[in-house]
């Protein structure tokens, strides 16, 4: 029987949805459930979480935990692991979660598995490799620190018997070599894809920057929509960052999303999979994009997209 430690995360003054998803995973795995809430002035949040799936909640209060600090967070998590006797440590695969979790695993000299979307007895974890192209089943020996993909399960909505207790954390703020400076909000976008009804996006398969103007943009224009792109396109400098759809770009939910030459890395899918209707055009029948698409075309985008542009133009009577 496992002892599970849920490491919660606070965002904008409340415990984020992903932490409740960890509570769901913990319920599913079964075992004794304990949680860590860390920050400054977080007693009320800890109280609330203890009754909503968190079980025995340990509260780590410290000024250096008020904003994310890898060294301070790592100390608090290690103290919670020691106090709880946890052998399964669950952390959300968020920017702070992925940053701290491997550090904790190295300090514990234990197994680490990241970005999992399923956990079962063993524990056995399921995740993707090769940028989403293949599924991997990972087994572990002894204690495991696992990060779980946000959105992979629904948030825990039941109630639980819980308790809250203080956790002693000895963090010497002066000895930390990491300092949180500030959070800079996203700059206002020249291109606001979140308001578009239709988005036509291109990926690495488009092949060259000028092909966006020649092939992708005309379809977007004739449909009265906007043009988007996947991360590799922006990384290669073909289009500016404001066109990027994905977890590190814009998260969009248009009425129609047309993905052209996009294989569908997880970070892109996170940014568009809740679109109302998704059409994917890709040469590779095994591309992960077809898993989230409603309609798929396995073909060369350079044949299909220009033909579609013409057909739409004809349908519009022009």
């Amino acid at each position: 029987m496992s002892t599970i430690l849920i490491v919660t995360e606070i965002q904008n003054g409340s415990i984020r949805e992903a932490s409740y998803e960890l509570a769901s995973f913990a319920q599913k795995l079964g075992g004794s459930v304990k949680s860590l809430v860390m920050g400054q002035g977080v007693d009320a949040l800890a109280e609330e979480f203890s009754k909503k799936g968190g079980g025995e909640v340990l509260v780590a209060e410290h000024e250096s935990l008020a904003n994310y600090n890898a060294e301070a967070a790592s100390s608090a998590i290690l103290a919670a692991v020691a106090a709880s006797g946890a052998d399964v440590v669950l952390i959300s695969n968020t920017p702070s979660g992925w940053d701290v979790a491997p550090r904790v695993a190295a300090a514990l000299d234990c197994a680490f598995v990241s970005d999992c979307f399923q956990i079962a007895e063993g524990p056995v974890l399921q995740r993707r490799v090769f940028n989403g192209k293949l599924d991997a089943i990972v087994s572990v020996e002894g204690t495991v620190v696992a990060t779980m993909q946000p959105g992979a399960t629904s948030a825990f909505e039941g109630s639980s018997d819980g308790s809250v207790s203080k956790l002693d954390v000895s963090i010497d703020a002066g000895a930390l070599r990491t300092r949180f400076v500030e959070t800079k909000q996203a700059e206002s976008k020249g291109v606001d894809l979140t308001k578009a009804d239709i988005i036509v996006s291109g990926g690495r398969g488009v092949g060259a920057p000028e092909k966006f103007q020649e092939v992708i943009e005309p379809l977007a224009q004739i449909l009265g929509g906007a043009m988007g792109a996947s991360r590799p396109v922006v990384d290669a400098g073909w289009l500016p960052h404001e066109y990027q759809v994905g977890s590190s770009g814009q998260v969009v939910q248009p009425k129609l999303y047309i993905a052209c030459g996009i294989s569908g890395a997880i970070q892109h899918l996170v940014g568009m999979k809740t679109s109302n209707f998704i059409i994917a055009i890709n040469k590779d029948p095994d591309a992960p994009i077809f898993e989230v698409a409603d309609l798929g075309v396995v073909a060369d985008l350079f044949e299909v997209v220009p033909a579609l542009t013409k057909a739409v133009q004809a349908a519009k009577g022009g």
Partner: protein
Amino acid sequence: MKIMVCLKQVPHQDARLDIAADGTWIQEDNLKFEINSYDTYALEEALGAKDAGEAEVFAVSIGPDRVTQALRTALGMGADRAIHVKDPEIDGSDALGVAKVLAAIAKQESPDLILMGMMSDDGNFAAVPPMLAQLVGLPHTTAAVKIERANGSVTCDREIEGGAHEVVELQSPCLVAVQSGINQVRYASLKGIMAAKKKPLDVKTAADLGLTGQVGAAAAKAKIDKISMPVKGDRAEILEGSTDDVVGSLVTKIKELGLL
């Protein structure tokens, strides 16, 4: 300052992936390999510091003979020297095993800054950088998109959700794991490639690093049991037929959605 750049050689992003006979990894024979894309940005960042006359840069990679190619490329691009950790005993290491090997190198070399990609294009674990920082006792950050070096510290913008950035200051020595796309990666020039042939490329084994028995498959605490094609439960309805047929169906659908 001394900068250590960790490079992983991974299957080419466009390589066809076939599952190996034992079902736990892909068939690597006859595959084309390249430097992990994230790591190329880390290398470029280091070479930028070298160009400014501020750094000595050495590259480290772990793996079989083929890894020499990745290190030669790094030398051709401008790295001063390279270390190739080559030992069958290290094969099958989990992320922590890899971090232990790199930590042993870092302890021998005492770099002021360790740069590497935030994840690999094959395993996608994103585990080694924070582990390495912990093992060496360094502060670290991940998903860095802007790195500013000052006297005794490094200040980074790290990418967080929704396009926002978190600014974090690390005291040197430190480790920075970079996000992809943060700079324009140079190509190795012909002159660079010629010069690279004379640059030092040291080969080390697990024993050289005092790690006998501590790394490799036997020491791995996390193991991939099986890889497979993802289950395609509710995948897309695939349109068949000629381009005209397919386009006709797409137009009909777009009309049904009320968008045309």
